[in-house]
């Protein structure tokens, strides 16, 4: 075997943009490049500059808000006196609202653990990689399973009288099921809902649920966790 056939030499083209480079492509060990390299820009300065601008904008907004909005400080901590109502930080108020409805083992342990497991598991499920619409194939069995699971959830929420969760879940499930009955090629909003995948519906349900519970916990709960109207 001759040594000189183990690699080939070439010169990169377009040296008006790129620096001239010599390429050695050795046999057997060459890196395979897949995909296309279109519309690329140099990170320096394009990315660096944009990041600096983002950082400056953020700093300006934060400083302005910090000048005019004081962080709250209440009375000295007193283990003998619970304020009424005692509220967690705003991002846990959704959880606290759940604790009002369900037993602590469900709302405080089971639901958060399931959410975390669900989030971690998202990329490892085959079914959502393609983002295939929910009602594309095996329509009728899917509809039966979907409605069955939704009904079990609704019964669970009903037993614990969690009506805010019940109503929201029912509306979102109804929108999802509507895609089954509406024929293709109607208005753009319906078409949009019809083409959503199951993970999309689950995540959207989770986000809307979290937002509603957080808003209720923040603004609509008064002494003894009773319902109050914030404008009264």
């Amino acid at each position: 075997m001759s040594e000189n056939r183990k690699f080939e030499a070439g010169i990169g083209s377009d040296f008006s943009k790129d620096p001239v480079r010599i390429v050695f492509i050795t046999k057997k060990t060459s890196a395979k490049v897949r995909g296309v390299l279109r519309d690329q820009v140099m990170s320096y300065p394009h990315v660096v500059l944009r990041e600096i601008i983002a950082f400056e904008l953020l700093t300006i907004v934060l400083v302005l808000m910090a000048l005019f909005w004081d962080a709250p400080l209440e009375q000295l901590a007193n283990p003998l006196l619970t304020p009424n109502p005692a509220k967690a930080p705003w991002y846990f108020l959704g959880l606290q609202e759940l604790l009002h409805y369900f037993p602590p083992i469900v709302a405080g342990v089971l639901i958060p653990v399931l959410i975390i497991i669900g989030l971690v598991a998202i990329p490892y499920f085959d079914l959502n990689v393609k983002g295939e619409p929910l009602w594309n194939a095996r329509r009728t069995p899917r509809l039966r399973i979907f409605c069955g699971i939704v009904l079990i959830f609704l019964m669970f929420f009903g037993v614990y009288k969690a009506w805010s969760i019940f109503v929201t879940t029912a509306i979102i499930a109804a929108l999802a099921v509507a895609g089954y009955f509406v024929p293709a090629g109607r208005g753009s909003a319906i078409e949009y809902l019809r083409s959503r995948s199951l993970p999309w519906w689950l995540m959207t349900w989770f986000i809307i649920m979290a937002c509603i519970l957080t808003i209720i916990g923040t603004f609509f709960r008064g002494p003894g966790w009773s319902w109050v109207w914030p404008w009264r």
């Binding site: 619970t82 604790l99 009002h100 369900f102």
Partner: protein, 165 residues
């Protein structure tokens, strides 16, 4: 000539007895596992305080005459209610069984109410409604020889046990 790329073929080590190598690997792995478990155990031990400066669980609350008949008295230091009824004394925890908030005795509804998540308890500690999973525990109450009532928060008694003073 060997056409395989030397970078992608497994390189044999210097010739050794494979049994000996496996044994040493297993030994090293086991030693590492024991060390890891031991480190975690002593770290947990180190982080668990042995001496705590917390309020006493056994305390005196004065003579029975201090508590009026059919009254509910809240002791803020010890976080208990002293309930005196015609049948006798009971001592109920004031800490909500739901998430540990301090409940408040409310005279007008004749109920113990939790401000955090809206649980309500009856005068005997049982749950009226709300998310609380279990009734408020009852503590042991007794009388010392010099006529003072004592409460032992470490001993939980059934709600039917009433102390006649």
């Amino acid at each position: 000539m060997d056409t395989r790329n030397p970078d992608e073929t497994e390189q044999p080590g210097t010739a050794v007895n494979p049994d000996r190598r496996d044994f040493l690997n297993a030994l090293a792995g086991a030693a590492f596992a024991v060390a890891a478990v031991g480190s975690i155990a002593v770290t947990v031990e180190y982080l668990s305080p042995n001496v705590l400066f917390e309020p006493p669980t056994n305390f005196r609350i004065g003579p029975p005459e201090n508590f009026a008949l059919d009254s509910v008295t809240y002791l803020p230091e010890q976080q208990v209610y002293i309930v005196r009824e015609p049948a006798g004394f009971t001592v109920i925890s004031a800490i909500c069984t739901h998430l540990g908030c301090i409940t408040q005795w409310s005279e007008d509804i004749n109920m113990i109410a939790c401000p955090c998540h809206g649980s309500r308890f009856r005068k005997n500690g049982s749950v009226e409604h709300g998310p609380a999973p279990s009734p408020l525990p009852h503590f042991l109450i007794g009388l010392t020889s010099d006529g003072n009532l004592t409460v032992d928060k470490l001993t939980i008694v059934p709600p039917t046990q009433v102390f006649k003073a």
